[in-house]
């Protein structure tokens, strides 16, 4: 790599650099796992602290957790429907919380303080592997949801309302994970890049609006991903009223 012409400690920018770990003959992106462990650790800490002593009159963190729970419940119930949403609530909720904390963690935690030999820490969702992994999980789960609830009748969905829809529905099965993963990946990476570019050009104050906008986008992206995942599952388990 050509060294940067100007090296500010917090405003360096590396794109597409990975910290490779060798596991057997597999190579993985170490920085993604490191930051995702931090994110998961934060999430689990919050959850464990908040649900230690559940009371009928909630106090402290329990309020936050219950708020999150009802928020996710309403989201899942609205998208999946009254009958099946309970089975998928944990999955949808985990997607939402994980993406949300990843995005905000990427924006709020000063990762640059930690020097890596190669690559840089950031939001795990700014790596295509993470988003594709989650999008494929969503695909698997809506197939599983549809097949387990309706059996082979699930495939009637492909020819409804008319058989003309068949090719489009098949294409949809590919575009769904593609759009899910690239939307999240693109938004988060673009946000990080914009903030980094602005910070690189003008280190003070100027990046702040972009940072706030980035926080907003991050939250919206988490919501969009979870809502779409729930919506796909809901479509798969939806019973046509004949």
């Amino acid at each position: 790599m050509v060294p940067m012409p100007l090296t500010l400690p917090f405003a360096e920018l590396e794109v597409g650099q990975q910290l490779y770990w060798q596991l057997g003959n597999l190579r993985v992106h170490g920085q993604v796992f490191l930051s995702s462990w931090v994110v998961i650790g934060a999430l689990l800490t919050l959850v464990v602290l908040g649900s230690r002593k559940m009371q009928r009159e909630p106090r402290g963190l329990q309020n936050l957790l219950e708020y999150l729970w009802t928020y996710i419940r309403d989201l899942a119930r609205e998208q999946i429907g009254e009958k099946a949403y309970r089975d998928w609530l944990p999955f949808i909720g985990t997607l939402f919380l994980f993406i949300f904390v990843c995005n905000w963690g990427g924006a709020l935690i000063p990762w640059k303080i930690i020097e890596l030999p190669n690559g840089e820490l950031g939001a795990p969702t700014a790596d295509i592997n993470t988003t594709v992994a989650m999008a494929l999980l969503v695909s698997l789960s809506y197939f599983y949801a549809g097949l387990s609830r309706k059996g082979l009748r699930y495939f009637e969905y492909y020819v409804e309302p008319t058989p003309i829809m068949l090719p489009f529905k098949i294409i949809e099965d590919f575009t769904k994970p593609l759009s899910l993963s690239f939307r999240l990946f693109g938004n988060i990476l673009a946000d990080e890049l914009v903030v980094a570019v602005l910070a690189f050009l003008v280190p003070l104050f100027v990046p702040l609006p972009a940072m706030f906008l980035g926080l907003f986008t991050s939250a919206i992206q988490a919501l969009i991903f979870a809502t779409l995942a729930a919506n796909y599952i809901g479509e798969a388990v939806h019973e046509e009223s004949h």
Partner: protein
Amino acid sequence: MTSWLLLATADAATGAAAGASEGGLFDLDATLPLMAVQVVLLTFILNALFFRPVGRAVEEREGYIATSKADAKQKLAQAERLASDLSEQLREARQAAQGLIVQAEQESDQLYREALAAAQAESIAVREQARSLIEAEKSTALAALREDADRLGSLIVDRLLAA
């Protein structure tokens, strides 16, 4: 500024071209399945630590609120029924009291009238008796006077005649 932008695109391009060996933005490798496994594990952990306990707490509270609301509604209905019962009883009691008062007034009026009539009759009778007594005494007195007068007259006549 353009230098690193070019650098980034060039880097991404080489990354994409050279595949996993060079890195890059679209570098798919074993991170993907491992991340998927990690997310699935996180789902199970969060289900055990977060979704189930918090869901149970929230739903228990919702149930508790629903039952206490129904309870309170039932109690309110009962209280309203009791209140209407009591006001009904109160109304009846008022009516009864009113009736009793009217009856007592009528009775006392009746008694008053009877007593008045009796007293008047008695007074009339007493007066009548007294007058008849007076009449009788007057007539006896007159009779006695007349007799005396007769006797005196005859006595005078006798004396005069005798004389």
